[in-house]
Subunit: 260 residues, 2 copies
């Protein structure tokens, strides 16, 4: 029975992970749990990760079909006010929704959001429950006729979309914003940076603006559920397809990793 005094509900005081399950196996499970642990450290939540692991595992056991499993950890129940209550037990629960391959490898249209990412908040780099900016950015983008929003930092650097990391290709360089721009350390982002060498791409974390993104050889987005997306346009302007075959190589490598 969920307690309405839970700080996850009242103050967004918690974290989550969204994990893809294919062939009965949670993909990058250890990496997701490690990020959850880092987030707990940032928030000062003392959480038994085995409980989180078990919550996900139980849902896989019940139904091994392809799925997206979300596991949520909150600081638990608290008294009124912002001050965390000493010794409160974290709340941990998981939920399951369906996944099919059609949800991955899409080609969304993007528009630059008026909402900016705040690199001067630790929340810009962890997967906290504080996701409302992203919701508003997505809704705003769709109202403008685009599929998703591209968010910049308050300094004007490219950060991410509403739920994905951003990569661009320049010649043989694979460039993505560093976490310091206010970017989630995506598990798929880390995997792509790791795989780059074998795909003969030079991975680099470097801040860049929209103009540079728009004139790069190609742009792609990554997250745990949609894997790799190839945005077709930005604010109505087509994005370059010069690096299309390189991006196809990255997509192929991700597909193999997920499905093997």
């Amino acid at each position: 029975m969920f307690d309405l005094a839970d700080r996850g509900l009242l103050l967004a005081d918690g974290l989550f992970e969204t994990i893809l399950v294919t062939r009965g196996r949670p993909f990058l499970f250890d990496q997701h749990l490690a990020r959850l642990a880092r987030g707990c450290t940032t928030l000062g939540i003392v959480c038994d990760l085995d409980t989180a692991r078990q919550a996900v595992g139980d849902l896989v056991d019940v139904d091994p079909a392809d799925a997206v499993i979300r596991v949520t950890v909150t600081r638990g129940v608290g008294q009124r006010g912002l001050q965390p209550t000493e010794g409160a037990e974290p709340t941990i629960f998981a939920s399951r929704s369906g996944w099919n391959a059609g949800m991955a490898f899409t080609s969304p249209s993007l528009t630059v959001s008026a909402i900016r990412r705040n690199a001067m908040s630790p929340l810009s780099r962890i997967k906290s429950l504080s996701y409302l900016d992203n919701v508003l950015a997505l809704v705003e983008a769709q109202e403008k006729g685009a599929d998703d929003a591209l968010l910049l930092s308050t300094d004007g650097d490219v950060a991410c979309t509403s739920a994905a990391n951003v990569f661009m290709i320049e010649s043989n360089d694979l460039v993505t914003p560093p976490l310091s721009v206010g970017v989630l350390d995506g598990t798929m982002r880390a995997l792509v940076l790791e795989m780059a060498g074998t795909l003969r791409l030079r991975p680099r974390e470097e801040a860049f603006d929209v103009a540079r993104l728009a004139t790069s050889d190609g742009v792609f987005l990554t997250n745990s559920v949609r894997l790799l997306m190839s945005p077709r346009s930005l604010d109505g302007e087509p994005l370059s397809r010069r690096a299309a075959s390189k991006i196809a190589d990255v997509a192929k490598a991700i597909r193999s990793a997920v499905l093997c």
Copy 2:
């Protein structure tokens, strides 16, 4: 029965109000409900405010003792992902905790937070469930030995504390940051701006930095529960008491408004 698929819990997709009840009367009730309505408009939540009003009124009817009543509105249950589900019914609930006069008119020590407010997010101006930055700023301040955090905007302007608006007095000017700095439009803030004239203070909304705050004639903080606070120090340096009698006049006016 609370649904774990509620977007308030999963994505901080909602709002709240914290309302002081004294002598069996919710203070500034209409103003709180009006702010809730403005927040719902910002988020695109279609909420029946009468239900929120009723939820608060029911708790007052059950026990008319002095209290803090929090009413929470979420976008309701949703499917996985950021996209709001069409036609979802908002979730509305209220809770009650005790209040006594000792919670108001305190003199906290403040320290400037490393966490900044993001004026380029609409959330900086509405009372959304996305409160985790404020929680972290408060905890950080207390770890540094202070009572509360003073938050600046990403541009370096003074914004607010973890849960209060900031005012400073310069001669007969009563200055508070404009909402554009990334500031909640506090109900007590609005009341103080309204009362200023009768207290022979000239109200002004103007951005200012920490140095100017620290050398002003006096600083005070307002919120709905603690009413008016007179911070005694900022990063260990005592704040001026030159305007102490003017601040006492403001406190007295608030006390009369709340208790009459």
